[in-house]
Amino acid sequence: MNETPLTQEVIDGANVESGENEGLFAKAAKHPFIAGGAILAGAGLAYAAVKTIQNAADTIAREVHIETSIAIDKSPEELYAFWRDFENLPLFMKNLESVIELDERKSHWMAKGVGAARVEWDAEIYNETENELIAWRSLENADVVNAGSVRFQKAPTGHGTYVRVTVNYNPPAGKLGATVAQLLGGEPTQLIKEDLRRLKQMMEVGEISTIDGQTSGRAESEDAEIPTISQEIEK
């Protein structure tokens, strides 16, 4: 994957905005994907700064940046430990086929295929604070340039832990792009929210609620998707 032309611009912009975290930015600058919030958020930058940067560079209009959070009734320690074992991620991330840890920091990620197409990449953890933060990013030659971070923040008493996730990716062009689009559907944010909901269920309940495999008075051929809200409105 080629370096995107926006990289330097964004870095510069970020530094102007923040005037700090230079060490980390220098490091991040080597990464082709730098526009989104993961790395910046990981570095403790204000989200506002990220927004300014995104707006400043219209070359990154296609960049996807997702931020969401969920409260889970477990301690930051338990959640961190579960997530830090990246091989657990496919248990709740619907589109992930497998993650193989290559060493302490590096891992190989494989998304579910669409048809014959496969989407894979190597990633590394580039920022980490035990029980608080894990930030990762794809390495060179990734099919999809991406980065993400997860923060485990103790919530007010009785409210468990806020798990805050950012995910950024650069949808590739061409055939691969179509595959990725198909994987993520029209609503990547919703997809990540659903992933986190599954994580919450795994952690709190020990299983993921489902009706898959349940019987009904329908023939399998009739077992269409749940009607969407707009279909319901049409009815």
């Binding site: 009734d73 919703q190 489902t210 009706i211 349940q214 319901e232 009815k235």
Partner: protein
């Protein structure tokens, strides 16, 4: 197995479907011994609840015998006779831990759909649309029960099915409705709707210390049951102006609490203003007296409006000014059934109540289609139907 399936509006059919099986470790499979049709099922029957699919198995009031257990269920064994709450709850989340079982965060696999409608999703429900989880219901010979280590209540042999079946829904629902009124000695409670939920709300209001209960409906048979079974005073809303009558009966003060055990079909509320049927429903509803509005208008200053009746969407002409100026308290929601199972079982065991008093019809599961239409159309004769697969 045989199961009662929702085919389309006003069309339910008993079909042969594959038996259910264990899907998750905390599941159980029950062989149904007795099941019932609920007023809530009529909302599905009449097509008011969105996200139903042809072939969905109905039923959320049921009990039976445990025939299979997932490996994580350790507190039940095969052969146990259990009643199952209609709300599906994990027992582990923020809400379950606070006794808000019907708000469980982890039991609706389609939570996103409910979120789109309501901002947040409640718990999954048996047989009550895909927005509420799409779980197959218990008007069937067998049913899969998720979180079987949390919900099902084992029943002692000396109690019959008919005495305990309604712990699954309408008894706790009526009880919670009355409990939500925070009844004080001397209180007068008015109850709109003398369906099964209303009947249990009336009985529960007396159990919780109400001095007077005034029951309102326009179905003579149901008003009669309220008077005979619970010694409620009764008002037929077709015969008089309810506001005038209730204020007159309470020395101009109004009832201390008002319970709306009618729900959306009386008022012409509906799922969503976006939702096409809303308008139709609203126009239909203008023909009926609007129980909730009436309750808000007549409730005494500082009183409580308790709403067990199901609402799905937006209310038209909601008299919020009246509610505000009187400083009313509102309590409502799907019942936190789990919270009430054991205390109410005790009341049954101690002979304080025999919930089977509401049953007017007993039939086989095969007769479900006629059961639904009888319950819908013959409210005078038919108050509660129980069905037994073994009669098939």
């Amino acid at each position: 197995m045989k199961a009662v399936c929702w085919e389309s509006k006003k069309n339910v059919q008993v079909l042969s479907v594959p038996d259910p099986s264990i899907i998750n470790p905390r599941d159980a499979i029950l062989k149904i011994t007795t099941t019932a049709i609920c007023g809530s099922d009529l909302h599905l029957y009449d097509g008011y609840i969105p996200t139903m699919k042809k072939g969905d198995i109905l039923g959320h009031e049921f009990m039976g015998e445990v025939v299979e257990l997932g490996h994580a269920v350790r507190n039940l064994k095969k052969g146990d006779r259990v009643v199952v709450p209609f709300t599906i709850a994990c027992g582990n989340c923020f809400f379950c831990k606070r006794n808000l079982w019907s708000a469980c965060d982890n039991s609706n696999p389609n939570a996103a759909t409910a979120e789109a409608f309501y901002g947040f999703s409640g718990s999954g429900l048996f047989g009550y649309s895909h927005m509420m989880g799409g779980y197959a219901g218990g008007q069937a010979e067998y049913v899969r029960v998720p979180f079987a280590d949390v919900g099902p209540l084992p029943i002692p042999d000396e109690l019959t099915d008919e005495q305990v079946l309604f712990l699954s829904d309408i008894f706790p629902t009526g009880y919670m409705a009355a409990e939500n009124c925070s009844i004080q000695p001397g209180d007068t409670v008015a109850v709109w709707g003398c369906g099964p939920v209303g009947q249990f709300a009336i009985k529960s209001a007396f159990l919780l210390g109400a001095e007077r209960v005034i029951a309102i409906d326009d179905v003579p048979g149901r008003l009669r049951m309220a008077a005979e079974e619970s010694q409620a005073e009764t008002l037929n809303f077709n015969d008089q102006d309810i506001y005038e009558k209730l204020t007159e009966m309470t020395g101009g003060m109004g009832p201390d609490s008002c319970i709306d055990a009618v729900g959306l079909e009386a008022h012409g509320t509906t799922i969503d203003a976006l939702y096409d049927r809303a308008k139709t429903a609203l126009y239909l509803a203008t023909d009926r007296s609007h129980a909730l509005r009436q309750a808000i208008r007549v409730c005494r200053k500082g009183g409580t409006i308790s709403v067990p009746g199901v609402y799905g969407g937006f209310l038209d002409k909601f008299p919020f000014g009246a509610a505000f100026s009187k400083g009313l308290t509102f309590k409502m929601g799907q019942t936190n059934v789990h919270k009430y199972l054991r205390p109410l079982l005790k009341l049954i065991q101690n002979g304080k109540i025999d919930p089977s008093f509401v049953i007017t019809h007993r039939m086989s599961l095969n007769e479900a289609a006629s059961g639904y239409s009888t319950f819908k159309n013959d409210k005078d004769e038919c108050i509660k139907i129980v069905m037994k697969p073994e009669l098939n």
